[in-house]
């Protein structure tokens, strides 16, 4: 079925799209441990390898911690690598995430966003990856299946960029994206080979001819300087991310934006900020409310790290109200995305009202009605009505 001649239109799930995206990047070592809802992505990759459609070593590790450790071992020897996880698995990997970013290996992983026990639940929210906020990884959230595939390919380009050398985590909403089938375009191997050259590692690699010690111990006298490098790499990534997308669009005919994507924000007075699959549903609500004459817009946060601070600072001057949808909550404070957005808004001119909507926890649907209500609450709040700053959307005993 795969054609070398032209991009192929296919009806596949988000996880299969991830597998295709990874396959086209020709990784040399993959290590993964199963967890719902990530599994069908790595199963597909194992199948590609078994069918000799992808030349790659697949390591069936015994834990997520080992999955990341194994791909790190391979990355040390200069291999392009991939792993994937979710939820408890991502948290079990936590130590390794820091290890990899601090060691500066450009590993790419997929996270199927799922909540974290307890209570036990296999469905989607952003609690897992948000808990990994400070692990030093570039974190991006996709909206649909096509973007999932495209961002796998872009992820390697960003991670391996000489000024970045930082691992990338591509986040897909569990089930809603991982298990949903959509019609997408799969680029040809030739196109991807032309756009993404084979990985040529930096000096930071184990080489028999030029022996080095990697991931060494560093005394307090030097640790700060290595940490400064990580921050500089993230800052560099802010500029490189939109360039990579522009180059991708020039080659493949579609792009997805920079750190954020604005939807109908040009003259918007009230905006919602969201990440992941709920962005798509929110677009429909924006259209609907615009038809009613309301000046609403939508900001899709594509990258949570590096965070689009300047973009929100610029937005602050233009809008009267900002609502932020968080699919997790930092207990004792507020949603993590809200905290970041609010802080970034303050750094700009203007003083929009802000409301945090905690919604879509553990697979709870965020309906179009929920989203419309959020807009109306932001508008009301900007008009002087009292609204709690932080609200759980759609609690069973508080119908929206």
């Amino acid at each position: 079925m795969s054609s070398e001649a032209a991009p192929e239109r296919r009806f596949i799930s988000g996880n299969e799209a991830v597998a295709w995206g990874v396959r086209l990047c020709r990784p040399q070592v993959i290590a993964a441990y199963p967890i719902t809802p990530q599994t069908t992505a790595v199963e597909k990759l194992a199948e590609f390898i078994e069918k000799h459609e992808l030349e790659c070593e697949y390591v069936n590790v015994e834990s997520e911690h080992s999955a990341m450790a194994a791909v790190m071992g391979a990355a040390m020897l200069g291999c392009r690598t991939f792993t994937a996880s979710s939820s408890q698995g991502l948290l079990y990997m936590c130590e390794m995430l820091h290890y990899v970013s601090g060691s500066r290996f450009p590993i790419v992983m997929m996270n199927a966003n799922r909540t974290v026990a307890a209570p036990w639940n296999i469905y989607g929210d952003h609690r897992d990856s948000m808990a990994m906020r400070d692990a030093g990884w570039i974190q991006l959230y996709v909206e649909n299946v096509q973007e999932a595939l495209d961002m796998m390919i872009q992820a390697y380009k960003m991670a391996e960029h000489p000024q970045v050398q930082t691992p990338v985590m591509v986040c897909l909403d569990g089930f809603v994206l991982t298990h949903t089938y959509e019609v997408i375009s799969i680029p040809t191997q030739q196109e991807v080979d032309g756009w993404l050259p084979p990985y040529s590692p930096s000096e930071n690699v184990l080489d028999l001819n030029a022996p080095k010690s990697l991931c060494i111990s560093v005394s307090p006298e030097w640790q700060t300087e290595f940490r400064f490098q990580q921050q500089e790499a993230m800052e560099a990534a802010k500029a490189i991310i939109p360039i990579v997308d522009t180059e991708f669009a020039a080659c493949f005919g579609r792009g997805h934006g920079g750190l954020i994507e604005e939807y109908r924000c040009d003259d918007a007075e009230y905006v919602l900020v969201a990440m992941g699959s709920v962005v798509g549903t929110s677009r429909l609500v924006v259209d609907q409310l615009r038809d009613e004459g309301l000046k609403v817009g939508l900001v899709k946060v594509r990258f949570f790290r590096p965070f689009p601070k300047q973009e929100f600072a610029a937005l602050a001057a233009r809008v009267k109200g900002v609502g932020v949808i968080d699919r997790e909550v930092s207990f004792g404070y507020e949603g993590a995305l809200y905290t970041e957005v609010k802080a970034a808004l303050v750094s700009g001119a203007g003083n929009p009202v802000t409301i945090n909507f905690v919604a879509g926890l553990s697979g709870r649907d965020i309906t179009k009605e929920n989203i419309a209500t959020m807009y109306r609450k932001v508008i009301a709040s900007a008009g002087g009505e009292t609204e709690p700053e932080m609200q759980f959307a759609g609690l069973r005993w508080e119908p929206w």
Partner: protein, 185 residues
Amino acid sequence: MLEIRWHGRGGQGGFTAARLLGMAASLYKNYYVQAFPSFGPERRGAPVLGFTRIDDKPIHDHSKVYSCDYVVVLDESLMKVVAAWEGLKPDGVMLINSARDPASFQAAPHHRVYTVDADGIVQAVLKQPVTNTAMFGALVAVSGLVSLEAALRAVELTLPPEICEPNKQVVATTYDLLKGQAVPA
């Protein structure tokens, strides 16, 4: 946008039917499509759902399906245990795998109800009680959403090669059976 809900039991291929329709629609008129199962661990025999969304514009909606243009029930016994009519639009279509007369199912006045004895057909052709392709063929006939050709091509592209031919035969059979009954949408 059209929304279709498929009722089956774990192992009956209800979600495959949802995908077959999506695949056929994407082939037929380059429609935009989405298909997804009722999320979660699948247990053989337990009632499960599949959903198909079809539109001529890109589908951005990632919320659940709350109202349906079509409901397809792969297993008649489910009619007693699930809320099959829930969310079916007033002019919506209900299609049930049953040897009984459509009138024997209590429907709201505007609902159009079709039945097809998929069990009997697949028993003869597939020799096993998997009714997803039979109900897919029947839906293609009553809805006119896609052509029979697109439906058969979708089977070829979705199912393993070794079971393609008998399933195409099943699709064509139920399609022919219901074609005459179809009311233009």
